[in-house]
Symmetry: C2
């Protein structure tokens, strides 16, 4: 997906504010390291795609919301990699933040990024009080408890796991907030767009589970079989590859169907198709299809 | 200080929302453990005292702000106790949260409490858009970077430390936000009240340093000499007990002088005196005074 200058600019502005000269130097360096260079920026791109489909009349608010969503995502990645979670040595081809700066700084960067997200949108409240308030509430719902990212990670510490609740909280909630925020910023039909985000987020988590269970480390550029090794719930382990693959396709199809009337439907569909294609690359697709064919013939 | 039912009620409501049935059970239990029973609740009481001095016309917003400030404080305590920071076994007479629930849950509870703080105040935005926005900005400034709590903790990882910046970020920033928020919620002169909070916060941090350097574990109910053992900056180590004690008195006096014209000046002065008295109990006061007398006689 091509880089979206609006997102990078908004993130740069937020990072510059947090790392102003008063900031301790190592923390400042680590905050920047957490945000740049980015990964796919899928969530903020979803936010922008939705806002554009609704005409995007308030781009400053859209950009703040998109960047806020990405900051919450970056915070969750840092924590995922910590020794008490996945103990991952690498992220985006570089040492994981705690390996480079220490666990103490990694935990503090997580705090700082979460605060930055709320700060960014709060700063737009004087111009957009009602829309800004709705976006802040959506960010809080997606990040915290009972059913946001923190709750999603906490499901991994429970003796029994509600897989749907886990997947929703860990991944879909932030996609939902991204789509909802884009719609709210642009005055669109946010309930419907929220559904689009939630369904795409569900597909994203299934694809992540498929990649972990069936993918190859060399192709993916990250270790696989992590869920099994860390005793984490995984949809492929629960449902089998065929059912997981079928659910993924269904969620992507339902995400497209959920798009409400808008001026740029084609662009949003293309965005969802693009994300969907990258979610399940050919070699994974073959494995779920092979499983399906085998069952059909059996 | 007597318990303030308004604060406990606001905190209880926030905890109930975050720990709704959808929340993973251990996380829910840990969130409650982090907030109840509380410590002195000094910061939210400062917020309330300031709001009351300004007439407190919007108690719902005041309560949200006060509880938000306390939630940010609770989050900082959990992190302070983690193995990669102070590695403290106990807090408020109970096992530290990470000892009871594990490091993973402790880190997630920190996230949840920060998110709850912003959620609480955001929920009041429809009724109080401008004041709510100002309070959210103050909370962000006090919690994150470049000069909030996270930055304050990060100063401990720097090779050289600006003691004033460290103390301001680690402690005074949240006191400042508490006082400012109470004033903003009540339509008061928030710049002046912000000074009161900052000065009281500075005194609080000095008292903390004095207690750590000169206090006795049995009297204080917590280990002492922690700053020295953890190679953390401490005002007594930098300035000596006499100068640190003198600065503490001066900050408390200046906090009282900074009180702007208001209907309940006496109540606020009594509140500051009460906090000041507890900050520096007689046995510590004797040690700084003894140092002063020795110098005067020398």
């Amino acid at each position: 997906m091509e880089a979206e200058p609006r997102i990078e600019t908004a993130l740069e502005r937020a990072v510059a504010k947090a790392t102003a000269p008063a900031c301790p130097a190592r923390l400042a360096e680590a905050v920047r390291y957490a945000v740049f260079p980015g990964g796919g920026r899928v969530r903020p791109q979803l936010c922008l795609a939705v806002a554009k489909a609704c005409g995007d009349p308030n781009p400053a608010l859209t950009d703040a919301a998109a960047a806020a969503v990405e900051l919450l995502h970056c915070a969750s990645l840092i924590q995922d990699d910590l020794p008490c979670f996945d103990d991952a040595p690498m992220r985006r081809g570089q040492p994981a933040l705690h390996r480079r700066f220490g666990e103490d700084i990694a935990i503090l960067v997580g705090d700082v990024l979460i605060v930055m997200a709320f700060d960014l949108v709060s700063a737009e409240l004087p111009a957009y009080p009602l829309a800004g308030a709705k976006i802040l509430q959506a960010l809080a719902r997606a990040a915290g408890a009972p059913a946001g990212i923190a709750a999603g990670q906490a499901w991994e510490s429970e003796p029994t796991v509600d897989l749907a609740a886990y997947h929703h909280a860990k991944t879909a909630a932030l996609f939902e907030a991204a789509a909802l925020s884009g719609a709210v910023a642009a005055g669109g039909a946010y309930d419907a767009w929220s559904d689009v985000g939630r369904l795409l987020g569900g597909a994203y988590q299934l694809a992540d589970d498929l990649a972990d269970a069936l993918g190859e480390s060399a192709t993916l550029g990250k270790p696989v079989q992590q869920d099994r090794q860390n005793h984490r719930p995984n949809a492929v382990a629960s449902l089998g590859p065929m059912e997981a693959g079928r659910n993924l396709d269904e969620l992507l199809a339902r995400a497209k169907q959920a798009i409400p009337p808008c001026s740029q439907r084609g662009n949003v569909e293309a965005f969802l198709d693009g994300v969907g294609g990258r979610l399940c690359p050919p070699e994974l697709r073959e494995k779920t299809t092979a499983a399906r064919v085998a069952v059909a013939r059996g």
